[in-house]
């Protein structure tokens, strides 16, 4: 899910003051730390994703929002 889609879904759910920050690249090396990614999936990642994007397959974000009072 793209960041703007995430924020848009929050707004459509009725939240206000949506804030997205704390951006942090999530690469294949980080994915290797999680047992949920199988070795086969890691191999697919290395093969299917261009090498210059291996360090930034996704972006970790912190998203905050508020329900109107």
């Amino acid at each position: 899910m793209a960041e703007r889609v995430f924020a848009g879904k929050l707004e459509r759910a009725g939240f206000v003051d949506v804030w997205v920050g704390g951006h942090r690249p999530f690469g294949i090396d980080e994915a290797c730390l999680y047992p949920l990614f199988t070795s086969e999936t890691i191999q697919v990642m290395r093969r299917a994703i261009p090498p210059d994007r291996h360090h930034r397959v996704a972006i970790g974000v912190m998203v905050k929002a508020r329900k109107p009072g």
């Binding site: 899910m1 793209a2 960041e3 995430f6 879904k9 929050l10 459509r12 759910a13 009725g14 939240f15 704390g22 942090r24 999530f26 980080e30 994915a31 730390l33 999680y34 047992p35 949920l36 990614f37 199988t38 086969e40 999936t41 697919v44 990642m45 093969r47 299917a48 994703i49 930034r56 397959v57 996704a58 972006i59 970790g60 974000v61 912190m62 998203v63 905050k64 929002a65 508020r66 329900k67 109107p68 009072g69």
Partner: protein, 192 residues
């Protein structure tokens, strides 16, 4: 429509199987990326061992003593326990997880942490949260919303259980552009 529902059910089952099939979380190598030494001393080793998140939403949630907090997708309980520490015995913390074995781990870890008196774990889906309307002040979630095939539904449920003025604080992964089709259709990639 029927195909979409089947797709959603397949994804749900894939995620459940992936989480039920692992014997440990990311452990220290994941936890130390997001939590301070001080925070890690506040949770039992077992909860650290089961760390599977992608951030530290409790740190950003600014929980206050006496508040009611819900951790959506609580896993081994690391964020639920940290939230329980912040809200204290005059507040309450609830961990929600779709897997009963994860809830059991959370309960065990909460007891080890000494916060079981005001912390509970309930089994349920984020798209159908088994809590009353307006029953919590804050919702935190860590790397969980992306697992849902019905994200808008999950967010609507989070909105429903929050009281007026309630806050949500979620850590998650976003992508820029499209993932290669081999990955977008890979169940392990989805579950991770």
């Amino acid at each position: 429509m029927a195909r979409d529902l089947m797709f959603q059910e397949e994804l749900k089952q894939a995620v459940r199987q992936a989480y039920a099939g692992i014997s440990t979380g990311g452990g220290d190598s994941v936890a130390r990326r997001f939590y301070s030494d001080q925070e890690l001393t506040q949770v039992p080793a077992g909860a650290v061992e089961w760390a599977l998140g992608v951030g530290n939403p409790v740190r950003y949630a600014f929980l206050q003593p006496g508040e009611a907090a819900l951790d959506v997708g609580s896993g081994g309980g690391i964020d639920t326990i940290l939230a329980a520490r912040r809200v204290g015995p005059e507040g309450r913390a609830v961990g929600l997880d779709v897997l009963e074995e994860m809830c059991e781990r959370g309960r065990r870890h909460a007891a080890e942490a000494g916060v079981e008196g005001w912390t509970r774990f309930v089994r349920g889906e984020m798209e159908s949260i088994p809590l009353p309307d307006g029953s919590v002040d804050v919702v935190v979630s860590n790397g969980v919303l992306n697992l849902s095939a019905r994200k808008s539904r999950a967010l609507a449920e989070i909105h429903r259980v929050l009281g007026p003025g309630g806050r949500v604080c979620m850590a998650d992964l976003t992508v820029e552009g499209e993932l290669p089709p081999e990955l977008a259709n890979d169940q392990s990639a989805w579950a991770g």
